[in-house]
Amino acid sequence: MPDLKSVNELVLRFANVNGSGSASANSLVGKSFFRMGLPVGPKNIFPSNIQGLPTWYEIRVSEKGYTGRRGSVDVMVAMNSQTFQQDVADLVPGGYLLYDSTKPLNPHGRRDDINYIGIPLTQIAVSKYEQARHRQLFKNVIYAGALSALLDIEFDVLCDLLGEQFRGRDKIIESNIDALQTGYDYAKRYYDCPLPVRVERRELVGDRILVDGNSAVGLGAVYAGATVAGWYPITPSTSVIDAYTKYASKLRTDETSGRKLFGIAQAEDELAAIGMVIGANWNGARAFTATSGPGISLMSEFLGLAYYAEIPVVLVDVQRCGPSTGMPTRTQQSDLMACAYASHGDSRHVLLLPATPDECFEFSMLSFDLAERLQTPVILVSDLDLGMNDSVSKPMTVAPDYVWDRGKVADYEMLENGFEFYRYLDIDEDGIPYRTYPGTHPTKGAFFTRGSGHNKYGGYTEKGPEYKENMERLLGKFSTAATLVPEPVIEDKGRPDAVLYFGTTLEPMVEAIDELNQQGYSLDQIRLRGFPFSEEVWAFINRHDRVLVVEQNRDAQMRSMLMIEGDIDPARLISVTQYDGMPVTAEFLVTAITGHLSDDPAVSQRLSA
C-alpha cells in the first residue's frame, strides 16, 4: 500500500446522485476547511438535470494556496453506485475511499492500492429515522460527521456552521448535530482517526471571503447604481440576477414607502431582455442583463443596434460548454468571439475578463461606468466555474471616493447655456459624442435614435462619405476603449517565452508556474483582463519570442483575436487549449506547457545551458 501522507494538502471528492440533498452537507464540509483558516477551492460538477443523475463536489484544500483543480483525488466519498467504478479509479494510489457498507462491496474491480473505509450509512439512517426523507438527508450529514473524525475537521466548526445556516430553528440544528455526532462516533470507533491525510487549523485566509462570482457580479450591479434588469433564465447566469434581486431587495427598498428603487423584468426571451436593457439605458437608467452562450446569439441583432446607435449596455455572459445546448452545466471560455464580434456588419464590443470574485465585483461596477463613458455595449465575460463555484477571494470593496461615471450627457443646464448638441459629433476627439436623456429640455437636445445610416449631426443619411465618417469615428472610440479597460496583470523578467491567459485559468496557472519553475522552465506571464487589447498587451507580446496562449475552448479563439487585432505572426502564438468542460487543472497545464517547450530544440538548449 503506497504511503499517502499530507497535512492541509488534499483533494476530497464527493460522488452523489443529484436531488439527494447532498449539496448542503458537502458545502458544509467545504466551508469548514475555510473556517479552519485554510485556502479551499470547492467545485460543483453537476448534470443538467433536477434529479437522478451523477453529481460530484470536489474540494481542494491547500496550505500553499493552490485552489485551482489539481487533478486526481486523495479522499473519495463514493455515494453513487452508478459511478462507483469510475470513482474508485480516480483515487491516487494510497488514497481513501469512504463508502456505504450496508451492502457488501462487489469484489470485482477492487483495488489493492487504496484504503477502503466502510460505514453502514443506510443501515444507521434506517435504524435512526422513521421518514424516508430524513433517512436520505441525514445520511449525508452522517458522512460529514465521519469526515470530521477522519480528516480532523474541528467538530465545533461544523456545529457553528449549522447553527448559522439554521439560525432560530433549534430543532433542526439539534438533529443535524446529532447526525454529525453519529458519523463522528462511528468513524472514531472503527477506524484510526485521523487519517494520515488530514487538516489542521492555520491562519492563512485573513480577511478573505468564500464566494461565487455570480453573487459578486449581482452585488456589483447594486453598488454600481443599476436600477433596471431584464433577463431570461439560463444556467449558469441565472444566479447573477438572483443575487441582484436579493441584494437590491434588501438594500434598495425605500424605508418609508416600502417601494423599490429598482425594477426587474423577467423577459419572454433574450431578445426582449436585451431590448429592455437598451430601452432603459437610452432613457437614462443603468440597466443590465445576464445570459449565457445561446442568449448571446439571440441578442446579437440588438447588440449591433446598440453599438451603432451608441447606447450603453451592460451584458454579463457566464460562459458554458457550447455549441448549442452543449454541456450546459460544464464550463468553457468559448464565447469570446461570439461576444467580441457579436452582430452583423462591422461591429465590435468591449469585453471585461474577470478571474476572481473580487474582480467580478469590481468589473461589474466598472462595466456600467465604461458602458456609459463609451456609450456602447460592455460584456462582462465570466464562466460557469467562476460564476457558480465558490472561490477564496479578497473582500469586495468600493473605493471610498467612488462616484459613478455617467459619461457625456448634455443636461438641461448645458443645453440652456448654449451647448450646441449634435448627437454624433466628436467634439473632444476621443470618438465619444454627447447624448441627452429623453425629457430633458422642451426645445433643445431631442434627437432620433436609429440603426439606419446617420451622419455626425444625428440626421438620417445614405451618403457613403457621411456613413464612413461615422464608422471611422467608431473605430476611434474603440481605440479610446483600449485605454480604459483594465490593464493586463504582467510578470515580465525578460525571459524569451511567456504564457498568456485570462479568466479562470488563473488559479491552476499559479500552481503550474511554480511547478514549471521547479522543473527548470521559466516563463513570463500576462493575464488579460479586457478587450480591446491595450498597448501594454502588444508591447508584452512583442517583447517575447513566443507566447503560449492558454484558453478553454477548442478553436483557440483568443489567439485568433490577437492575430486579428494585432496582426501578430501566428508562429509566435502557440495554442494551448483545454475544453472538456471541466475547470483546467494544474496537472494539465504543466504537461501541455512542457510538451510545447521541450518539443522545441531552441528551448531545450536554453534549458540545458
Binding site: F262, V277, A285, F447, F448
Partner: protein
C-alpha cells in the same frame, strides 16, 4: 426635467393650454408614398397630442422597423424618438418605461412588425400592462419589403377578388382582449373624426392601450392581377427604385355615423366594410366585446371604434412596486447601499 414654454410664436396662431402651436407637434417631412395611410395616422397623433396639451418633450416615440415604424420621425420633432429593430419595439418601450414612468410612451409598429416577427413581444407587453399607446399601422402587407402578405392580411377578403390568403388571419384586437389589455380600439387611418378621440383616449389611459389602425398601403397589395400585387411588382421590378410603382394616390377618407357601416374603396379597387360601433355599445364588457368581434368577423365586417376599456388599471410599475420617482432620476447617493452594508455582506461570506 422642465416644462418651460418654447419661444413665443405669432399671436395669431392658435395655441393650446401650454402655449404650444400645432407646429410644435409636427416632425420632419414624410418620405412615405403620397397617400399612404400611415401619414394620416401621424397627422392624427399630432392633433391628439396638441389637443391634449402634452408637452412634446415629455413624449417618447419608439418603433420597430417598417414604413409604419419610420413615422415617428414625422411627428413630435421635439420628442426623443427611437427607431429600433424589427418586431422588438415592445421590449425597448418596456425598458424605457421601467426607467422613467413619467414620460408618455407612444409605440408605433406595423402589422408585420407586430403580428409576425414581433408577435411574442406584442403578447408579453400586453400581459405586462405597460402604460403606453401601442399603435399598429395595419395595412395587411409588408410595405417596406414590397408587399408580401402579412399575418393580418385580408381584412377585406370578403370582397376581394384573386387568390385568397390561405392562412388564417391574426386579429390583434382579439389577441389583446384575451391577454388582458385595458384599452382596445380599432381605427381607420382615413377617419380622423373617429381616430383622434381614440388616440386621445389611449394617451390618457393610465395603462396599456392598443389601437389597431387600418391604414391602406397605396403601393402594394396582394391580389392576383393587381398591378400592385407582390407578384406583379416582383416580376416587373426595377431593383431599388420602388417609387416607380407608386402612382399618385389620394388619401382615402371616410366620415360616417355611429351604428352604421360604410364600404371603402381601397387603392386597388377592393372594398373594405367598416362598421362603426353603435352609440349604445357597452365598451366596459370584455366578454361581450369578444363575442361582438366574432359576430362581425362572421359577417365580414370590421368593427371600428372603442371596443373595450377598463378604467380600473394596474400598471407594470404597480406590479414591480417601484418608487414614485422615475428610477432614472435617482441619485447615486440614494442607490448606493454604502460601505458598511458591503462589509457586512463580506462578513456573511466568511
Amino acid at each position: 426635467m422642465s416644462y418651460a414654454k418654447p419661444k413665443v410664436a405669432h399671436p395669431a396662431i392658435a395655441k393650446n393650454e401650454l402655449g404650444y402651436t400645432r407646429r410644435d407637434y409636427e416632425g420632419s417631412i414624410s418620405t412615405l408614398c403620397a397617400g399612404c395611410g400611415h401619414d394620416s395616422i401621424s397627422a392624427a397623433l399630432i392633433q391628439a397630442c396638441y389637443e391634449l396639451d402634452l408637452p412634446p418633450h415629455q413624449v417618447a416615440k419608439i418603433s420597430g422597423i417598417g414604413c409604419s415604424s419610420k413615422t415617428p420621425t414625422y411627428f413630435l420633432g421635439a420628442s426623443h424618438g427611437f427607431n429600433s429593430v424589427h418586431g422588438r419595439m415592445p421590449s425597448v418601450v418596456t425598458g424605457a418605461n421601467i426607467a422613467n414612468k413619467d414620460l408618455v410612451y407612444v409605440g408605433v409598429s406595423g402589422d408585420g412588425d407586430t403580428a409576425s416577427i414581433g408577435f411574442g413581444q406584442f403578447s408579453h407587453i400586453v400581459r405586462r400592462r405597460l402604460n403606453m399607446l401601442y399603435m399598429v399601422e395595419n395595412n395587411g402587407v409588408y410595405g417596406l419589403t414590397k408587399g408580401q402578405f402579412s399575418a393580418t392580411a385580408d381584412f377585406g377578403s370578403a370582397s376581394k377578388g384573386g387568390v385568397p390568403n390561405p392562412y388564417d388571419q391574426i386579429d390583434l384586437i382579439q389577441m389583446a382582449l384575451q391577454l388582458g389589455a385595458t384599452y382596445v380600439a380599432r381605427g381607420f387611418s382615413g377617419d380622423k373624426k373617429q381616430l383622434v378621440p381614440l388616440i386621445k383616449g389611449a394617451l390618457s389611459h393610465p395603462g396599456f392601450a392598443l389601437i389597431d389602425c387600418i391604414s391602406p398601403c397605396v403601393t402594394f397589395n396582394n391580389h392576383e392581377g393587381s398591378t400592385r400585387s407582390y407578384e406583379y411588382v416582383r416580376e416587373h421590378d426595377v431593383p431599388v427604385v420602388t417609387a416607380d410603382y407608386v402612382p399618385y394616390a389620394k388619401t382615402i377618407k371616410v366620415d360616417y355615423e355611429p351604428g352604421t357601416g360604410t364600404s371603402v374603396k381601397m387603392h386597388d379597387g377592393s372594398m373594405l366594410n367598416l362598421h362603426k360601433l353603435e352609440e349604445d355599445y357597452d365598451p366596459y364588457d370584455r366578454k361581450k366585446a369578444i363575442n361582438y368581434l366574432l359576430d362581425c368577423q362572421e359577417q365580414g365586417k370590421i368593427a371600428t371604434g372603442m371596443l373595450y376599456v377598463n378604467p380600473d388599471v394596474t400598471d407594470f410599475h404597480d406590479i414591480l412596486e417601484t418608487v414614485e420617482e422615475p428610477l432614472s432620476s435617482l441619485s447615486y447617493d440614494r442607490l448606493n447601499p454604502g460601505a458598511d452594508a458591503l462589509e457586512s455582506i463580506n462578513a456573511s461570506f466568511r
